[in-house]
């Protein structure tokens, strides 16, 4: 961004209004975070779709190869472990009561 743009003052009208759009500012913040996550998910899905398309066009990947792929045992195990950790980390984030060393070691 140009120096002028960086240095320009923020006029009053560009501020987000104090009054929340939903019932509380906390709910606004949660809804906006969730919307931002949805956006990130879409950007990633778009990218994977483009990637698959380009790999197929280049002859590196056959059409349908990913859908028809049968997971070998070692990769299936890796994915199971990664998925379990993801769920525990994200679903569990709001339920954690305390931090202890043993749990952290198991998560690593």
């Amino acid at each position: 961004m140009s120096d002028d743009a960086k240095n320009s003052a923020t006029p009053e009208h560009a501020q987000r209004p104090d009054k929340p759009y939903l019932s509380t500012p906390e709910l606004d913040a949660l809804a906006l975070s969730q919307t931002e996550l949805l956006s990130e998910l879409w950007i990633l899905r778009d990218r994977v779709t483009v990637l698959e398309y380009l790999l197929t066009q280049a002859g590196i990947l056959k059409a349908g190869a990913i859908d028809d792929f049968e997971l070998p045992a070692d990769l299936a195990e890796d994915l199971d472990r990664e998925r379990d950790q993801l769920v525990a980390r994200i679903v569990g984030a709001g339920h954690r009561k305390k931090l202890d060393l043993d749990t952290l070691k198991k998560q690593s």
């Binding site: 320009s8 006029p11 560009a14 956006s39 950007i43 990218r47």
Partner: protein
């Protein structure tokens, strides 16, 4: 010249969110309002004009009812989110390819070029100074790659899908401007002035209908005029551009036979709007015409739409939107001396809203 995948997909997401918000959520919100016990009385009130305080009071009453709808509250949250993120994603997308975009960025021609008259000494009016219109960080002149930000950024992926302010989802913005230009009664205007020409888009479409007319644009922003000249050179529309206040232009009295004003008056306080009309009257030759297109006034819409239009003032950095919705452009034109003054919508949605009149012969 394209932005990268992240920016493109991110902007396209905003376009989809805006479409959903302005169709499913908005329809639910409108149905919620229609079911409210206060709706019939509010709707009756909106069917006749009142004074400024009367309109503000009516809108407050309508807002209180409309905001009860959870669908409306989410609709507005998403509107604000898209309005902010437009800039975030377009600017960061352009910045990631700054070197490429900078090579083709419009630059000012040498001083003295008759196509562009910049005025570095122009006093920026108080109503304009420091406003970040539509939440644009730094305002209209703040970002040097604003043309890329708009044309490779939010215009194709978000703006073009509609669903914001008075623009409905699926509206063809280009065709709407063409339709507005069709509202000139004369088929052979010789010289047309646009008092808030921005990037020359409206003048470009005037060229389609009036291939031989001289086209002159004025604007306060040097950056948009520089962008407008580049657009003119690229498309061959041949415009002459002036950095000037539309209340006091460089054009001689009686020197033009057409004035086109597209989406300008809602950016002006009413007293400035009135003075701009007076100046346009001055530069028009006898018999010359003025055509204005802007969002509809409150007296032309129902309570639900009025609440949505009023929302723009506080939430999209449109400081004069509400006052413009109260201001009676047609009455002002008549008071100044225009004749054959008419106002009407071009679509069922009441937008574009056209006001037109003629200077007496």
């Amino acid at each position: 010249m394209n932005v990268d995948q992240r920016a493109r997909a991110g902007l396209q997401f905003l376009g989809s969110l805006q479409v959903f918000s302005s169709t499913a959520l908005q329809q639910q919100a409108e149905a919620d309002f229609d079911n409210a016990v206060e709706a019939p009385a509010l709707t009756r009130d909106f069917q006749h004009d009142t004074d400024r305080n009367g309109w503000l009071q009516r809108i407050d009453q309508a807002r209180e009812v409309v905001e009860r709808s959870p669908a409306f509250r989410f609709n507005r949250l998403y509107q604000r989110y898209v309005a902010e993120e437009n800039w975030v994603r377009a600017i960061t997308g352009v910045e990631r390819r700054r070197e490429v975009f900078a090579k083709v960025a419009p630059t000012a021609p040498p001083s003295g070029d008759p196509r562009l008259h910049l005025n570095p000494d122009l006093d920026m009016p108080d109503y304009y100074q420091g406003v970040e219109w539509h939440l644009q960080p730094g305002g209209l002149d703040g970002y040097d790659l604003s043309a890329a930000m708009a044309f490779s950024g939010f215009i194709p992926y978000v703006f073009a899908r509609g669903g914001f302010a008075a623009v409905a989802v699926g509206d063809n913005l280009l065709q709407q401007r063409r339709d507005v230009i069709q509202q000139f009664r004369s088929d052979n205007l010789k010289c047309i002035y646009d008092p808030g020409c921005g990037g020359s888009g409206t003048l470009g479409l005037c060229r389609e209908r009036f291939p031989d007319a001289k086209l002159i644009g004025g604007d306060l922003s040097a950056q948009v005029l520089i962008n407008g000249l580049k657009f003119s050179d690229k498309t061959g529309i041949h415009v002459e551009l002036w950095q000037e206040d539309a209340r006091q232009t460089s054009q001689a009295g009686g020197s033009v036979d057409g004035v086109i004003s597209y989406a300008l008056h809602h950016e002006l306080p009413p007293e400035v709007s009135f003075d701009v009309l007076k100046e346009m009257y001055r530069i028009l030759e006898p018999g010359g015409e003025m055509v204005i297109s802007d969002p509809p006034p409150f007296r032309a819409v129902g309570p639900f739409q009025a609440v949505m239009l009023d929302w723009e003032t506080e939430n999209r950095s449109e400081p004069y939107f509400t006052e413009a919705g109260i201001f009676d452009l047609a009455q002002a034109m008549s008071d100044i001396g225009f004749v054959d003054v008419e106002e009407y919508p071009l679509q069922e949605t009441r937008y574009p809203w056209v006001t037109r009149g003629r200077k007496p012969r």
